[in-house]
């Protein structure tokens, strides 16, 4: 607003630098696109900044057009949390453990133990798990035989079949869920302190769906 309309804004980045590589997915206004009849802009040291795409004409055959992959929710999720999935045809025996927030989705069969303290573990509808599960959030839609211990929450979906005890600060149960076992509410701060174990009288019970605010 303080610049005259014809004044060219100086750019700190010369044309032809990596910032002007073709096929980069940036928003380009039609007026700013350089046409073939114009001379190459790379000769001038100062060019208007809003021209990120400036095709340089060389005597080499043009590379095949590269179509940028659309940015989907799945791709974003994969980048941010590095989700892992055990597909419906897979059977795994052993212990799954890890740190970080690598979420896990189980659609196959798993026997052993899952210990992913900072992650979300989801057992899909076709998932069949015989294992104790320890995670930040646990979401069950399939079948689980084992104890569940969550640092934040457990959710039993309408198709879930759980046999074992549940230890969590918060729990959600959809109508139709089947649970054979014990539900115990603990403080969020206590949830990560020790592995799932039988209840003792000294355990402090917490309300359902009430996030603990105590230290």
């Amino acid at each position: 607003m303080w610049r005259k309309p014809n004044e060219v804004k100086p750019s700190s980045q010369p044309a032809g630098s990596p910032g002007s590589v073709p096929n980069q997915t940036k928003t380009v206004s039609p007026a700013a696109v350089t046409t073939e009849s114009q001379p190459p802009a790379s000769q001038t040291p100062v060019v208007p900044a809003p021209v990120p795409y400036a095709p340089v004409q060389h005597n080499v055959p043009a590379p095949p057009p590269v179509i940028p992959a659309p940015v989907t929710k799945m791709a974003v999720a994969r980048e941010s949390t590095a989700s892992s999935r055990i597909g419906s045809g897979l059977k795994i025996r052993g212990e799954l453990s890890g740190s970080g927030n690598a979420d896990l989705l189980v659609d196959g069969e798993l026997q052993g133990k899952i210990a992913l303290g900072d992650s979300r573990v989801t057992i899909g509808q076709s998932g069949r798990v015989q294992a104790d599960i320890e995670a930040r959030d646990i979401l069950i839609e399939g079948s689980v035989q084992g104890n569940l211990k969550a640092r934040e929450s457990v959710h039993l979906g309408s198709t879930s079949r759980v046999q074992g005890s549940i230890l969590t600060p918060r729990i959600g149960i959809d109508d139709g869920a089947r649970l054979r076992g014990k539900v115990e509410m603990i403080r969020a701060s206590d949830a990560g302190a020790s592995p799932a174990e039988p209840a003792t009288d000294s355990d402090l019970l917490r309300p359902v769906h009430a996030r603990s605010t105590e230290a």
């Binding site: 649970l179 355990d203 019970l205």
Partner: protein, 229 residues
């Protein structure tokens, strides 16, 4: 927990007098039932600060939330569905086995085998058991085995809440707690037919090991009985 020694607060007694018996709420869109049995059940287990309760029906968010908010630990075991699943498996197994062995399997034998996997709890573990109307749906030969196991699992002074129909139930319901004196009857797909109408004398015999009992009879003739160990 001593039933006779417990003194009921005046307010609670007054409320009990105002509600002479359990009944289905008139004009209510949802299928709820005022339950004096539940109120008495809660009063009886109220002495135990972090008591353990066993719900033998399906798991419901509202029931779990209700007990957890009061500081209880709740276990659930959908006993009737487990029994039906067990029966189905056994029938399939027997169909194959009978042709070889010709063995006759009685309900009592089935019950014993069933209890090898079901109702597996430590002795004197629970302070209260919600059995709802499940016993009406079991074969009368199986019921004594279930009650024996429940009796063992109950803490001395523990209480069982059961509902008994006075005629064959027209529709299969599951029960969930709405508040301290209200039960919601949730119509459900029939997984078992009503098997038996227990007479009061039969109930006295079945629960003979229990110390005492109290029954509320509703206008719909459903009996809400509490049996104290």
């Amino acid at each position: 927990m001593n039933w006779m020694a417990k003194t009921r607060p005046n307010a609670a007694a007054a409320t009990a007098r105002l509600n002479p018996g359990p009944s289905t709420l008139q004009g209510s869109t949802s299928n709820v039932r005022i339950s004096n049995g539940l109120k008495e059940f809660l009063w009886l287990i109220s002495d135990v600060p972090h008591g353990r309760v066993l719900d033998l029906g399906p798991v419901w968010q509202s029931t779990v939330a209700f007990f957890v908010e009061k500081g209880y630990r709740i276990s659930t075991e959908d006993l009737l569905r487990t029994w039906k699943d067990f029966q189905t498996d056994e029938e399939e197994r027997q169909r194959a086995a009978i042709s070889v062995e010709g063995e006759k399997v009685t309900q009592a034998m089935l019950a014993e085998k069933f209890l090898e996997k079901a109702l597996q709890y430590p002795s004197e573990h629970f302070h209260g058991v919600l059995a709802w109307d499940l016993l009406d749906y079991f074969d009368p030969q199986v019921v004594p085995f279930l009650l024996e196991r429940l009796f063992t699992s109950l803490y001395p002074g523990g209480v069982v809440l059961t509902l008994f129909h006075s005629r064959a139930a027209e529709r299969y319901h599951r029960y969930r707690i709405v508040d301290s004196q209200t039960i919601e009857l949730v119509p459900s797909p029939t997984i078992a037919v009503h098997a038996h109408v227990f007479q009061n004398r039969e109930l006295m015999d079945l629960f003979g090991k229990f110390r005492s009992s109290k029954t509320f009879v509703g206008r719909d003739q459903v009996r809400e009985s509490l049996f104290l160990k």
